[in-house]
Amino acid sequence: MAPDHKTQKYDRQLRLWHAHGQAALEKAHVCLVNGTATGTEALKNLVLPGVGAFTVIDAAKVSPDDVGNNFFVTRAHLGQPRAKVVTALLQELNDDVLGHYIDDDITPFVAAHPRYFDRFSLVLVTGHVPAAALLALDRVCWPRGIPLLVVKTCGFVSTLRVVTRAHHVVESHPDTPVRDLRLADPFPELVAFVDTFKPFDDMTSAELTHVPYPVILLRLWREWRANHQDTPARGVPQSDTAVASAAASAADMENWDEALKQAFLAYTPTSVPRNVQDVLEHAILDVVANADAADEHAPVTNNSVVANPVANVTAGCAWPPTFWALCAGLKSFVAEHGRLPVRGSVPDMKADTATYVSLQRVYRDKAAADAADLHARVRAIAVPVVTTSTPTTSSVSLSRSSSVGPSPATSPGMAAVDAAPTTAPALQIEAATNIDLATVTEFARHAATLHVLSTPSLHDEYARAHPEWTRALSDDPGMLSIYVVLRAREVFYARQRRWPGAHAADSDVDTARLRSAARDVVKALVMGGGNALVIEAAEGGADAHGEAGIATPVAPAVDVDDWVQECVRAGPAELAAVAGYMGGVIAQEAIKLITAQYVPMMNTYVYDGIHSKSEVLKA
């Protein structure tokens, strides 16, 4: 009689993301680059709720600083490979999760094994990673549609950048529940239902108290429109007045009060929300709709438009890769009916049970009819849906078999990596005709809250100019200055091959150098070319750029200087509390991305732990 151990153990979180969210989480394989305090905190928050698997890529050895701020190493591990130690301790948290590690540095690893990343649902980078390596990871993850989360931390401040080419959300859980009663443009069955009620004038006062407010509104609004041919929008207040005067004569005011409160529903036409229009206008839909079944085995790898968004759809996997076929069906539905499918749920209201149940039935039947209509369209498209051939599940089982492989002793991890058959993200075609009605119905229910979100690639962010920030940079950079300084650290590293503040003795020199790097970053944000700043210097390896870049068009404001000093003071150390906080934020966003539920934060999140402030920067 006892529920199985997973249902029991995960009871509290299942209340939030339900069984299908849990299934998506259990299918996911997360990659953590560097087992830092922040990185292990984030991974802990994914391991506890039962992520399918994780792989830690890290060449560091456990240092005294790690012992001081990282919960997942102890003094006894000093000098041991950090990847191995944190993997073992994280693994202990949950038997259902498979942990792997690769004792190698990300820079050479990503260059040598780009295809190894195909297996991951999400890649998280923490610690002090040269920008060149970040951009290399971006080049690997972006075309594959794998969400990349980049975390930079320095003392009390931290940023999280989410990089995702296309992320779709079906269950976005809006703050205010969706009301979908179609009172302004009622469907015939609803009109027929309203007509079954006697005229209000013929009702006893007891009967009047039991008329549900949608019936009141629909009828009064129709009567009002019959007498006023002019524009409905201007009739709004009169409509409220009409309800109010009718309400005044009703004995028990409750349902009439409800009608008054909800009166706007009567003259607010149901529209297709902006977020849904974005989905329906997405380029991929044209590809889906125009795809030719004969092309089934044609090489589609060149067609990056097709490959990437769809690959990302499978990455989270909460919804089947048929997502875009459903959207294509929805597009056709909207084109013909000019509206979304009826949602079918009726909010609580004052009414007697029998009437309420009949009203519910009217909406439910209409929703069922709409879902059937949509289902027919989805099937009739009969156009193949494009999906990658590397479902996350098989990746997980692959790494299962190789989990004992990565031996830190000889050729660290490499043997296992090379042995794992790396499947290219080749595309295969799957017919949409086998999408069942239940899936379509569930999709239709959420039609009004669909989202497709995307961010620029990391390369784009570094390379292009950011005119949207120019003003803030010279006037009041605010939290943007934290972003600038964290970027400046990367420039510093590219020039010095070490991170600022690493040696207390050099602090004045470091401050000057970091300040100059910050100026260069500000310049690059205005003019573009920030990528060259980190790559070129890394290759040239000279300090020549140091004071040369002073001729910035804008003067970096004082805030930037403050953070330069703070950054040098903090050096490379991490604070456990900031790691704990950011670990929670990172994992929260990761779970939203993996389960495709809730709308995740996009672009760059900046946190200032000194003043307990944060902001999302949109580039």
């Binding site: 009689m1 529920p3 151990h5 029991q8 153990k9 995960y10 009871d11 509290r12 979180q13 209340r15 939030l16 069984a19 802990k44 928050n45 506890l48 709720p49 005294p64 600083d65 012992v67 001081g68 701020n69 919960f71 102890t74 003094r75 000093l78 948290l93 009390f156 859980h173 007891a206 039991h210 007697d352 049970t353 029998a354 309420y356 149940v357 903090a570 150390a573 604070l575 456990a576 509390a577 790691a579 704990g580 906080y581 950011m582 670990g583 929670g584 934020v585 994992a587 929260q588 966003e589 779970i591 809730y598 709308v599 934060m601 946190y607 732990g609 003043h611 307990s612 944060s614 999302v616």
Partner: protein, 597 residues
């Protein structure tokens, strides 16, 4: 090796020294507590005490990472301490397995801390810690989570709002008649099954259980029927554990009781009539079935009426057997038999009343009032709590406290919302009408065996010159001890008066010579062996102000209105929805009838 090198480097020598020497108390070692203890220990807080009365449950393991499967049913406080010490032996952690409201955790003990953390999900305990912190002037960091949302707030007594400055949302209430006679939504049937039927059948015998129904004068006949119904149930309960008990209950509540209700024509003029179950056919059909609960995958779908009947009979028999063997049972959402009973009983009732049936999973959510909790939010919030603690230690709660009213301080109340990572609210000064913040607090040490109420009152009036002896009222909670027209107790010793009873503050209210209202004073009594009355610490200055024109008896008016209703005291985590008299919800002791598993 200096394990605290990163903390020392980032916090600076001075702040780190404060961290090392500060004494912190954390109340609650659950989801937030585990995260918080880890953060405090990693950062190098030198002295940590933690209190939790709970034991570890298997459903905790998805987030309370200091616990593992082998720790299930052990004390959370003790296991958390051991786990934390394993990674930092350089600090002192003291664990208490007990209720924070226990007498041993008195005001003096609270005052021995520099900082208190509330990592509780339980309204009543949170309010208690808040009161003790405000009384003792100890800064408090209060936090909570639900789903992807959470918050952490600094409560600096006298400077910022306290936890009680804003009334908490009133619990959802249902009229008794809706629950007992005319349900119209699934929640009505679930409340009936859990809060009425379960305790009636398997709980303690309570004769006064019907008392609150009598207040409902709107339908005397209906009330009479309900009383008779309950009596019949008590009769039936005597045969609990005997063969055929479950079937007899089934016939009674789904046929006889419904038929009796149907006989009251007035009830059904505007409502759809319930239809009694075809009990014989259903019992026969149920007997043919195998255990429907064996298939857990069906927990998420709605079971058939026959299957539901089977579950009802099975679980009723199991619970009755337990009742006969080991006495009264209380509902626990994690008790499989209890949950099976409630889900089946509620769904059968829904069926009778033409209400849509719910799946086992949905009913468990509603009956257990289960708040979703995830590891990530706990991590976010516990990180914030420590960063807030650093702000308190540095004195950065407010840059200036004097111009507080004109210049609101930097905001430090943070919220993590589903579609938004972090939001900040401003910290505001205490609300002047707050029952906790508006009072002055003083702690006195007395030998209760020899000190009379008169001695105590004299000492207080001496210490506070503004208090006129002839215009003072003394209460303990709601109990009147003294006022100018009631001086019977002055000669009695405090021990004789049973003062202090549990953490009671003596409430001294007064008007001064000019009939100005004097700031109400709370006197916390610390028992001491020494004769006489000693006022501990500084004597606070009491303000006076013109008395408000008319003092209304607001709480009583509010109470009346709700008297005939059932209150669902919505709590958190490990506490349950309780059906209780509403009058209890408003007074200082919080919820009467609270159950804990």
């Amino acid at each position: 090796m200096d394990r605290h090198a990163p903390s020392r480097a980032l916090l600076g020598t001075q702040l780190f020294a404060q961290v090392e020497n500060t004494r912190v108390l954390m109340v609650g070692a659950g989801g937030i507590g585990c995260e918080l203890l880890k953060n405090l220990a990693m950062l190098g807080f030198g002295h940590i005490e933690l209190v939790d009365l709970d034991t570890i449950d298997v459903t905790n393991l998805n987030r309370q990472f200091l616990f593992q499967r082998q720790h299930v049913s052990q004390s959370k406080a003790h296991v958390a301490r051991e786990s934390a010490l394993r990674f930092n032996r350089n600090i002192t952690i003291i664990s208490h397995h007990g209720n924070i409201k226990d007498p041993q955790f008195d005001l003096a003990w609270f005052k021995s801390f520099n900082l208190v953390f509330n990592a509780l999900d339980n309204l009543d305990a949170r309010r208690h810690v808040n009161l003790m912190c405000v009384a003792g002037k100890v800064p408090l960091i209060d936090a909570g989570t639900a789903g992807y949302s959470g918050q952490s707030t600094i409560i600096q007594p006298g400077v910022t709002e306290c936890y009680d400055c804003h009334p908490k949302p009133t619990p959802k209430t249902f009229p008794v008649c809706t629950i007992r006679s005319t349900p119209s939504a699934p929640i009505h049937c679930i409340v009936w099954a859990k809060n009425f039927m379960f305790p009636q059948l398997f709980g303690e015998d309570e004769d006064e259980g019907d008392a609150n129904l009598v207040n409902d004068t709107t339908n005397a006949k209906q009330v009479q029927e309900l009383v008779r119904e309950a009596q019949a149930l008590r009769e039936l309960k005597r045969s609990a554990g005997l063969p055929g008990f479950a079937e007899r209950v089934f016939v009674k509540i789904y046929r006889h009781d419904i038929e009796r209700l149907l006989s009251m024509e007035g009830l059904w003029q505007m409502r759809q009539k319930p239809v009694p179950l075809d009990v014989e056919a259903l019992v026969a059909a149920a007997n043919e079935l195998r255990d429907p609960l064996a298939d857990e995958t069906a927990h998420c779908r709605v079971r058939t009426i026959e299957e539901t009947t089977k579950v009802f009979l099975q679980s009723t028999a199991a619970l009755a057997k337990r009742y006969a063997a080991s006495g009264p049972q209380s509902f626990d959402k994690d008790d499989d038999a209890a949950m099976a009973f409630v889900s089946a009983a509620a769904n059968l009732r829904c069926h009778v009343y033409h209400i849509a049936l719910k799946s086992f999973f949905e009913i468990k959510s509603m009956a257990g009032n289960i708040v979703p909790i995830v590891a990530t939010t706990n991590g976010v919030v516990a990180g914030l709590m420590v960063l807030h603690a650093l702000q308190v230690l540095e004195g950065r709660v407010l840059e200036t406290t004097t111009d507080l009213l004109t210049a609101p301080p930097a905001a430090q109340h943070l919220v993590s919302r589903p579609n938004q990572v972090l939001a900040r609210d401003k910290l505001f000064p205490p609300v002047s009408s707050c029952a906790v913040c508006a009072r002055a607090y003083v702690q006195v040490a007395v030998d209760t065996a020899s000190t009379t109420l008169g001695d105590l009152l004299e000492a207080i009036v001496d210490a506070f010159s503004v208090l006129p002896v002839d215009n003072v009222t003394v209460l303990e909670g709601a109990r009147m001890l003294y006022d100018p027209d009631f001086d019977d107790n002055l000669g009695r010793t405090l021990a004789d008066l049973n003062v202090p009873s549990h953490h009671a503050f003596l409430l001294v209210d007064a008007y001064d010579q000019d009939d100005q209202l004097v700031q109400p004073l709370s006197v916390y009594i610390q028992k001491s062996g020494k004769k006489g009355v000693e006022i501990l610490g500084n004597v606070p200055q009491l303000w006076t102000k013109p008395a408000p024109p008319k003092v209304q008896d607001a709480p009583i008016a509010g109470g009346d209105e709700l008297d005939d209703e059932v209150v669902m005291a919505v709590d958190d985590d490990d506490e349950d929805i309780i059906m209780t008299e509403s009058s209890a919800a408003g007074n200082e002791t919080g919820h009467v009838g609270r159950t804990r598993r």
